[in-house]
């Protein structure tokens, strides 16, 4: 099966994530679209890992370790990001990102 298929799928998922970030105003949805983009990149990396493993490279597993680290960073990011969103909601009773464009007050 061509690796191209995985490239196209990842591009499509990534661009859906980009569209979501640009189209929505709910901070939580925007955050979820960022997760979608991260996952598109992870999927591509795993596909390339399989490609190099088929080519006989012994270090093809490194790509999967990178995916693992991306998951770790994404989990940390979600913890801090959701804490920030909860704090903003507590202060302004909204998760509209247009409220966050003035960080003062």
């Amino acid at each position: 099966m061509p690796v191209q298929y995985y490239i196209f799928l990842s591009i499509a998922l990534f661009c859906i994530g980009v569209m979501g970030v640009l189209m929505r105003r709910n901070a939580i949805i925007i955050f979820m679209c960022v997760e979608l983009m991260l996952n598109a990149v992870n999927l591509l990396m795993v596909a390339f890992s399989k490609m190099w493993a088929d080519a006989g490279r012994v270090d093809a597993g490194s790509a999967q370790i990178f995916v693992f680290f991306i998951m770790v960073v994404a989990a940390a990011e979600v913890a801090v990001g959701l804490a920030i969103i909860v704090m903003v909601y507590r202060n302004s009773h909204s998760v509209d990102i247009n409220i966050m464009n003035r960080l003062k007050n």
Partner: protein
């Protein structure tokens, strides 16, 4: 032209993941968005299994579906958000966003359409098994592993500090 079983499974998983990813963006209710994203994550885990990344598939389900999406769902239900109170962008901004994303899609597809990459072989490899990944992780990537644990600790402390009510 016969399609192999792998291609059929790939096609089904891809269609489900694209449709549910669109559902994340287009649905009005945030809870529906979260559920669509969980479906997307499960299909991506299916892709990982198809690509012989069994360990990553399990970790992906545990971390994303088990931890991250539960956190999202918890926050959304805590805030009691629903579709009526969500502010909508002005429609020309929405169109601009959709057109920009679509332009990015077209450019990337056009750029990578002719890329010469080999095909994946149908037979399985064992690089994604936990024994091999563990060996790589704890021989070549010990320092990044420890640094990520520090990152996790600081993220936990940061989340608690930010989320704390100031009196």
């Amino acid at each position: 032209m016969g399609m192999s079983l792998q291609q059929i499974i790939f096609g089904v998983l891809s269609v489900i993941s694209l449709v549910s990813a669109l559902g994340v963006v287009l649905s009005k209710n945030p809870v529906t968005s979260v559920l669509c994203l969980i479906v997307t994550f499960f299909t991506i885990a299916g892709h990982y299994i198809m690509l012989n990344a069994q360990f990553l598939a399990v970790v992906h389900i545990i971390v994303y579906a088990g931890a991250i999406m539960v956190l999202f769902l918890f926050v959304i239900m805590l805030m009691n958000l629903n579709a009526e109170i969500e502010p909508q962008k002005r429609s020309w901004l929405k169109y601009a966003g959709a057109i920009s994303g679509g332009a990015l899609l077209v450019v990337l597809l056009a750029a990578l359409r002719e890329a010469s990459v080999p095909s994946l072989k149908p037979e399985s490899t064992d690089i994604g098994l936990i024994a091999n990944l563990g060996k790589t992780l704890f021989s070549q990537y010990v320092v990044p592993f420890e640094v990520s644990s520090i990152l996790f600790l600081s993220a936990m402390v940061g989340a608690v500090v930010i989320g704390k009510k100031e009196d």
